[in-house]
């Protein structure tokens, strides 16, 4: 593989990402000697650059607002998002979607529920879908990745074969297929479907960076000192392999929220809409999209802004943690 073209197949791209993991000895001291104080850790140097990056600050700012909103929205929402307060105005033929009025600045949805309250409270379920999908994908991917990266040999070969096949199915299509297995779709099945797609990505990422660690000096030294294999894996290899995984997680948060919306759009999402979620609101707005496009535009804007926030944060994290960018 030539250094000029680091990306070949999807799996190789993931491996390339893995290679940007903190290399605790060589690379850093070398790079540190160039323009940073000697001995500055990767994290510290990354942080000092992130603090000055407007892209990161914008992304982090959006994320912060989103998380705070998710926490306090039930308190500041003017109405109960599940109550059909304007239901008496809904006429299926003449007026399916009540418009803006006193106390309801954005109007209501087709069931007479306050749109503003649903958007505000929707941040909560959206955050839950994003976070839980990422955690689930991470947990599955980490288990497989540790298994493969720690044992190597035939365990590695077997796990990676399955992972590669999962990567050979277009990811969104895989999510659709998994969601279709659910006899009763719910928020949980949506999270599982969206998370499953990320399992092979995380697994390959972690395995790549752990394999790179296996033969590094500090692991060899630990082994020579008689440290147990378990301690080597969990105390020496794993912590040093996490940087690319953390970066990927922030990007996955964005993808999960968008994918969940696509599932709702295809009717594979959570059918229970008492607790609103942006992806669900967007997916279901298609019924009235030409007469009342605002029903789709508001939740879509929310999703775009939040996804952009996570992406900006993830991309600047990646750049900051990439040893190559320390030059």
């Amino acid at each position: 593989m030539s250094p000029a073209n680091p990306f070949t197949r999807r799996k190789d791209r993931i491996d390339e990402l893995a290679a940007t993991a903190a290399s605790p000895s060589g690379g850093i001291a070398e790079a540190g000697a160039v323009d940073e104080k000697p001995g500055v850790s990767l994290i510290a140097s990354a942080w000092s650059r992130l603090k000055r990056s407007p892209v990161f600050l914008l992304g982090a700012g959006i994320t912060l607002v989103f998380v705070v909103l998710a926490l306090v929205s039930p308190l500041i929402a003017p109405h109960d998002p599940a109550a059909g307060l304007l239901l008496d105005q809904v006429r299926p033929q003449s007026n399916p979607v009540p418009g803006p009025q006193d106390g309801f600045p954005l109007g209501a949805d087709s069931r007479g529920r306050d749109l503003l309250s649903r958007l505000l409270v929707g941040s909560q379920q959206t955050l839950i879908v994003g976070v839980f999908a990422t955690i689930t994908g991470l947990a599955g991917g980490l288990s497989l990745g540790i298994l493969a990266g720690a044992f190597g040999g035939w365990v590695d070969a077997l796990v990676m074969r399955v992972v590669d096949v999962m990567l050979s199915i277009p990811s969104l299509l895989l999510a659709f297929s998994i969601a279709a297995v659910a006899a009763r779709p719910s928020q949980v099945t949506v999270i599982i479907a969206v998370a499953a797609v990320q399992v092979p990505v995380f697994a390959r990422l972690l395995r790549g960076s752990m394999l790179a660690q296996r033969s590094s000096d500090h692991v060899v030294a630990a082994r020579a000192l008689g440290v147990t294999e378990r301690a080597i894996v969990f105390r020496h290899m794993l912590p040093n392999s996490l940087a690319p995984v953390i970066v990927q997680s922030t990007l996955v948060l964005a993808v999960s929220i968008i994918d969940a919306a696509a599932l709702s759009f295809l009717g594979l999402g959570n059918p229970n809409d008492r607790q609103p979620e942006w992806g669900q609101m967007l997916g279901r707005a298609q019924t009235y999209i030409y007469d009342y496009p605002h029903l789709a535009i508001y939740p879509a804007l929310c999703i775009i802004v939040v996804a952009l926030g996570f992406t900006l944060m993830g991309e600047s994290l990646r750049e900051a943690l990439d040893p190559k960018s320390r030059r």
Binding site: T8, R161, L173, A180, V181, A182
Partner: protein, 335 residues
């Protein structure tokens, strides 16, 4: 070279084999099991018994799997229950393939034609307002749900302004069908109004479908050109007095395009998934449309064909990409 291709082919066989096991497991885990999944609500005890026997569901699991492979190999995937009830599932795939290829080629062509030159420009002027603007645009492109963008385009250009057709692939002009690639058919039969109509219908869906590939290809091109511009051989080429044009074409672009070629192959996967959403919005009548409908009505016979085909196409295209890559860059062959 031949050894390289054979090795890749063998790997592909392995992938397809594991894929068939996964698909088999998937079919078995569907709600209500395979029989209910395929027969749906119309299952009578007789048809159930017939299908149970035909599928060998009373036999050991490895026999069932072998039968599944046998049926798949002979193209027998059962009969559609919801998308086009009564039609052979494989036939639905074959009928709709040209529509999706036409759309995907248009979308990918659009993405590549815009992304590669813009990525190059962006890298040449890195740090300029143009560069920043394009990078932001590419980040937003990934953050917008595809189907929402499709709706937005359709709403603005087709419904509100009435510039372009709302849905479908062609106006009903009584066009002759030869290949079922409508643009091509019109050219072959010299019914140019047919081609024009098909092209008009292509604009909005391909634009929507092209956003994500555009964003990804743009960023890879930009990163790749930036990296190559810093290489020693580019400096050497410049300092020995080669003209800017030769350096650009022979040294920069030739090397920078390698990862771009691979990315383009990878994006076919995103295209297939994106086609499901875009085709649904524009009632395109292709594979994506059928998949969306099959998920809605849980038409498992159609789903298994289309999912297997989508994965197969994706694996195959990436095989082609690998081979083309090995032709462009001899260093890859030894890997």
């Amino acid at each position: 070279m031949a050894r390289f291709i054979i090795r890749r082919l063998l790997q592909m066989v392995g992938v397809v084999a594991v894929l068939s096991v996964l698909l088999f497991a998937w079919l078995r885990s569907l709600p209500g099991g395979t029989v209910s999944a395929i027969l749906g609500e119309r299952a009578t005890p007789e048809t159930r018994a017939a299908l149970t026997e035909a599928f060998g569901l009373d036999q050991p699991i490895y026999v069932q799997y072998l039968k599944f492979v046998q049926r798949a190999a002979t193209g027998d995937f059962g009969v559609s229950t919801g998308v086009l009830p009564g039609t052979d599932a494989l036939q639905i795939f074959v009928d709709r393939l040209p529509a999706t290829i036409e759309l995907s080629v248009a979308a990918l062509g659009l993405a590549v034609l815009l992304a590669v030159p813009l990525g190059y420009l962006s890298a040449r002027r890195s740090g300029s307002p143009l560069d920043s603007g394009l990078v932001i645009l590419s980040l937003v492109g990934v953050a917008v749900p595809v189907f929402f963008l499709a709706f937005l385009l359709k709403y603005q250009f087709a419904v509100e302004w009435n510039w372009l057709p709302v849905s479908g692939r062609q106006d009903s002009l009584g066009c002759t069908r030869i290949t079922n690639f409508f643009v091509l058919d019109g050219l072959m039969t010299r019914e140019f109004d047919c081609s024009a109509s098909a092209l008009k219908h292509l604009v909005l869906p391909s634009l929507a479908l092209a956003t994500i590939p555009f964003a990804v290809i743009f960023r890879i091109t930009r990163a790749s050109v930036l990296e190559v511009l810093g290489e020693d051989y580019v400096r050497t080429a410049e300092s020995k007095g080669l003209t800017a044009r030769v350096v650009r074409a022979r040294h920069v672009m030739r090397n920078a395009l390698l990862p771009v070629v691979t990315t383009i192959g990878l994006q076919t996967g995103a295209l297939l998934a994106g086609a499901v959403l875009t085709e649904k919005v524009f009632a395109w009548g292709g594979i994506g449309d059928a998949l969306a409908r099959a998920f809605e009505v849980r038409d498992y016979a159609v789903l298994q064909v289309l999912i297997l085909a989508a994965a197969g196409i994706y694996v195959f295209i990436n095989l082609l990409v690998d081979i083309s890559y090995a032709i462009i860059d001899p260093r890859v062959r030894t890997r």
